[in-house]
Symmetry: none
Subunit: 183 residues, 2 copies
DNA sequence: AAACCGTGCGACAATCTGCCACATCCGTGA
DNA sequence: TCACGGATGTGGCAGATTGTCGCACGGTTT
């Protein structure tokens, strides 16, 4: 197999710039060529010059949802593998995305290895190997809380409401240290 | 019984007898021919005599999960329309089911009209509504657990080890219903 | 058969959560 | 300036949840 003529092109569509940059670097480090689009519209203008082989799409962005990109990405490259990656995951959007041809669907936060594992998972190559340990539930909860807290500019009361959690409970969780993962 | 040759055959696979009976009556009243299976295994034995055109499958049953029936149902009737209907809904099982060829996926409780609408529903539309609130921590935990659980092919002990969680605790969490997010 | 492994479940103590009750602060508008 | 609404820190307490142990049962492997 000719594997080194060209690197696989990986398109990241997400309006969270920090997230995109971090993910892009991690993907690049693994030998892919990457491009970032901050919106669905911007992604469309890039398709002519950057024909992606892999893509991650966010759902909740300014303008169109990443889901609307799926048919268009598949038109450009029918073999493209698409991963929906969103902080606003739901069953109904997951069902829609898969029906439209997305390869898989993940809720943020997810680490790079899991992202790539999901994208490789549907490849014709039957690579059946479970990678590293997943995040512990405690760690996941911490990440999620931090994310929502940031979205609410550090407002604890608002965050507790958004999470459907009692403010007192959130306060107590925040006082504790983030859970550590050991390897 | 006089069997109407034009009536569509509707198979209900669910171990909740009350639920099955109520749904069956409602479906029958709308002109379908119905059959009930209390387990995946029982459903298989019926396929020769009752070739369904439509089916609802439960996930959490004694014995095999309804998801395992999808390929076999499609073998008997490639045009069958399958709706996953479960009280233990999660994104990872939804993705799995749709990939295997299920038509749609609904969380219980759902009324008869919703069920038939999903089964009759045609093309996927990219304009699904996206949640405006992030998942609650409880919901996120449920989804994460389900994801890891599918990655470990339903092995509870292995999942508990991977999550750094006591097996007993995981068992208890799995017995509970996932938290319903309002929409 | 014996040694394992995964699973389901009872019991109990340690912890955590939901919830109410204050007591501060901090802007904003009357 | 003074209320008023909203955010925040804390204490307390009953009830829910978790971490552990233990035991039984049914498969698989050796």
């Amino acid at each position: 197999m000719d594997t080194n003529s060209t690197a696989l092109r990986f398109l990241i569509v997400d309006d969270d710039e920090t997230f995109s940059r971090v993910l892009s670097r991690a993907i690049k480090r693994r030998g892919y060529e990457t491009a970032i689009a901050g919106s669905a519209e911007q992604a469309l203008t890039m398709l002519e010059t950057f024909r992606p082989d892999l893509a991650t799409l966010d759902l909740k962005m300014d303008g169109a949802s990443g889901i609307t990109l799926i048919p268009q990405l598949k038109t450009v490259n029918p073999d493209i593998r698409i991963l929906i990656l969103t902080g606003y995951a739901s069953i109904s959007t997951a069902v829609e995305a898969i029906k439209l041809g997305a390869t898989d669907y993940l809720a943020k936060p997810a680490d790079t290895d899991q992202i790539l594992a999901k994208l490789k998972g549907a490849a014709p190559d039957p690579d059946v190997e479970i990678a590293d340990k997943p995040m512990s539930v405690g760690r996941l909860e911490w990440e999620h809380i931090q994310k929502v807290l940031t979205e609410h500019e550090g407002n604890i009361s608002a965050t507790a409401r958004a999470l459907g959690m009692h403010r007192r409970t959130l306060q107590r969780k925040l006082q504790k240290r983030p859970v550590r993962e050991e390897h």
